[in-house]
């Protein structure tokens, strides 16, 4: 090794003296080009730093720590329910996005004649190729997600996993389960059939019977005190715009917290 200090920053020279395949060379060239302009290394370093910090929180596995290789906590399969809610949510999101191509939220009447919304459902169910399958998958994944979320909450309750330091995640969970149910409710109104209509009726009455803020809530959520086009439109926007953003964001935070804290151990 020569005593003379090499130029550490002659990246081209460094690249040429190595025996690189074409692919590697192209990749490095592109990387260097981007790095020179965007300082990618800095961000990489940040990420790496984060990664190790997160992992520093990660303790030995439960079995290692307690020497429990011969023991099985028979509730462990239920610990998959949270992931299962997430997966069912994703399935519902994808099938829902596809359904959105064919659905139109227009209900000018409630006279017993098919409305535009109702007609688009009929089209999906009867004319569209695999349309009934799409709607069916959307329905079932939503039902299954709700069931999984309820059961997930029970498993968290009965394994005492909500205790310090996980209180915040429990509260986020309550918000999530409530929003899941509002998701389901707003979706229930979209077909604008008899069931939707009368479930909507109950919703308006419930909103109206809230003390003090009743009329205001009914106006905000249902667009009035009776069910009209405005009701359907609001439910639609809730269902395909507000709730998806909120729920997706909160699920990310919820799981991020689990990631950082680790799963509670039932010592």
């Amino acid at each position: 090794m020569s005593l003379e200090k090499k130029d550490e920053h002659d990246h081209r020279g460094w690249m040429e003296e190595r025996d690189l395949t074409v692919l590697e060379e192209r990749y490095l060239t592109l990387l260097m080009w981007l790095d020179k302009r965007l300082r990618l290394v800095d961000y990489l370093e940040l990420l790496e730093d984060l990664y190790y910090k997160v992992n520093m929180q990660m303790p030995k596995s439960h079995t290692e720590q307690y020497g429990l290789d011969n023991k099985f906590w028979y509730w462990y399969p239920l610990y998959a329910l949270g992931s299962f809610s997430t997966i069912a949510y994703l399935v519902a999101a994808i099938s829902g996005a596809l359904l959105g191509f064919y659905y139109a939220p227009a209900a000018a009447s409630s006279s017993g004649d098919p409305t535009v919304a109702f007609e688009s459902l009929r089209y999906i169910m009867q004319d569209l190729n695999f349309g009934y399958m799409l709607r069916s998958i959307h329905r079932w994944s939503a039902q299954v997600m709700t069931a999984a979320v309820f059961l997930h909450m029970l498993r968290v309750y009965f394994t005492g996993a909500y205790k310090e330091p996980r209180e915040l995640n429990w509260i986020i969970g309550i918000v999530l389960i409530s929003m899941t149910m509002v998701f389901g409710y707003s979706g229930y109104l979209l077909p604008w059939n008899q069931l939707s209509y009368w479930a909507g009726q109950i919703g308006v009455e419930m909103a109206l019977s809230i003390p003090l803020a009743g009329e205001w809530t009914a106006q905000l959520l249902f667009g009035g005190f009776t069910l009209t086009q405005a009701t359907l439109q609001r439910m639609y926007i809730l269902h395909v715009f507000f709730l998806p953003f909120l729920v997706t964001g909160l699920i990310a935070v919820h799981i991020g917290i689990v990631w950082m804290q680790g799963i509670a151990e039932p010592h």
């Binding site: 030995k60 720590q65 409630s110 205790k163 059939n193």
Partner: protein
């Protein structure tokens, strides 16, 4: 950390972004200059870091005290296996049991049964607790609120009660056998969710509605007591082995 003892190298890579020189404040200098809330934040972080450090050095364990076990890969591998099975189940159900087409909305014909989806039955049932709405003698036997208002408030009370559970039940106990009381509260809640759901469809249940109403509240208590009795009697044996293992690993201070 100090950068002073490393030789100066050219770090701008031709970008014109100048590396810090002697005039540039270091991070700790910047920190000293900040005021107010950000200053407080820095100070707290330093304290917290020092506390962590102290605790870690003081601990006789090789690893840091276990707070939980890692989500990846321990948890996720199992979850992926189980969830892929259940996604298959969703697709199977969808293919075999597609939703039906209902008649279009008609405000002039009320259906015999009005129901939300099943997961809202409990909430729907809570709306029908009218008989429990106290009437005040002071108001001449009139209720303080309309029955519906009462029902909506009951919903809020239930959700609120679930929310504050972590602040009521503290301590290290996790398994139901370790905390029979809280486990039986849970059993009470689950059974109540079912009975109140049945109450919400009381016109479909072939049973006297007063009896149904009484059972709605009786059954959860019965279930809760049974759970309590069972867990309490299991506790002795469990606690012995649990304690032995626990205290061997975390001797009391």
């Amino acid at each position: 950390m100090s950068d002073n003892d490393t030789p100066e190298t050219e770090t701008d890579g031709g970008t014109g972004i100048v590396p810090p020189d002697d005039e540039t404040p270091t991070w700790s200098e910047r920190k000293e200059r900040t005021q107010g809330l950000s200053r407080l934040t820095y100070e707290y972080f330093e304290r917290a870091r020092r506390e962590d450090q102290d605790l870690r050095q003081e601990s006789s364990y090789v690893e840091r005290d276990v707070l939980g076990f890692p989500a990846w890969p321990h948890e996720m591998i199992r979850n992926l296996a189980l969830t892929s099975f259940f996604v298959g189940m969703i697709v199977f159900l969808s293919a075999t049991l597609p939703p039906e087409m209902m008649p279009p909305a008609n405000s002039s014909s009320t259906p015999a049964v009005i129901l939300p989806d099943w997961y809202l039955y409990w909430s729907f049932g809570l709306l029908k607790l009218g008989p429990l709405n106290p009437d005040l003698a002071l108001l001449g036997g009139k209720s303080l609120m309309a029955d519906r208002t009462y029902g909506v408030l009951a919903n809020l009370v239930v959700v609120g009660a679930i929310t504050i559970v972590p602040f009521l039940n503290k301590g290290a106990a996790r398994r139901p056998v370790e905390q029979p009381f809280w486990a039986s509260v849970g059993v009470f809640g689950v059974i109540f969710a079912f009975t109140v759901a049945v109450l919400s469809v009381k016109n479909l249940v072939p049973m006297d509605s007063h009896l149904l109403f009484d059972l709605t509240f009786l059954l959860p208590f019965v279930g809760g007591f049974i759970a309590y009795a069972i867990l309490k009697s299991m506790r002795e044996g469990y606690m012995f082995t649990l304690n032995r293992r626990y205290y061997r690993l975390r001797p009391p201070k």
